[in-house]
């Protein structure tokens, strides 16, 4: 039988909400009894994507960030969406060490972290309209 569950969370693009977003996703995923490592991988990836929406998407201004999480058996699907400036060159953006904000001491490792800690990362973006990051992770700690 298929187990399915889903949640959505929306919040203002304040840096305080980065911690909230990763804890909310972790709390939701924890119903699948993941390992500590799986949960911390997911928290880290969510933190990166939400931070990008705050810093790059809305350039530290105000906007709404939408995060959704769907569980299908042991598959975790997460999307992080902003309606901010968007990304011109997604391929370049995903390169390790590339950052458009070195003056803010960004490391350019955000996408690399997401790709390392999750199984799949897809980025969809329209300049001037916003960005959606879709991430998937299969939990090996099946219930």
């Amino acid at each position: 039988m298929q187990y399915q569950n889903t949640m959505k969370v929306s919040f203002i693009s304040k840096s305080q909400n980065e911690a909230f977003a990763r804890v909310a996703v972790a709390a939701f995923v924890s119903q699948l009894d993941p390992t500590v490592e799986e949960i911390s991988d997911i928290k880290t990836a969510v933190s990166e994507a939400v931070t990008n929406a705050v810093i790059h998407g809305y350039e530290n201004g105000e906007g709404i960030i939408n995060v959704s999480c769907t569980l299908t058996n042991n598959i975790v699907d997460i999307t992080i969406e902003d309606k901010g400036v968007g990304i011109e060159d997604i391929k370049k953006a995903r390169e390790p060490l590339y950052t458009s904000k070195p003056e803010l001491e960004r490391s350019g490792m955000g996408f690399t972290v997401m790709e390392t800690f999750m199984d799949e990362v897809e980025v969809e973006s329209i300049p001037g309209k916003g960005t959606i990051v879709r991430m998937r992770k299969k939990l090996n700690s099946l219930k």
Partner: protein, 112 residues
Amino acid sequence: MDIIYSVKRGNLIVKIYGEIDHHTSETIREKLDKEFKKQNVKNIIFDFSEIQFMDSSGIGVIMGRYKNAKERGGKIGVFNLQPQVERVFKLSGLHKIINQYNSLDEAISSLQ
């Protein structure tokens, strides 16, 4: 998020309590740079015992402090990395330029 400083044999020892993300990194950076300016030290040693979470914003913080220390001819050392932080360290390549130790004593004697 709290930071406790101490100075030992030319090293600024920094123990952070809490999580290092974009939000907290701004405060950490500011406080740390102020303390480093004040103290007559070359090296910065981070005690990571109480950090259960760090994302790539933390990499930026450490790289920035690495540059500051370098200007004084110093280095950065870290010890007691927890598993999640260890994984972020590894994938970022930070472990290639930042020395990792098992204890404060080891860090102090190696950084001499």
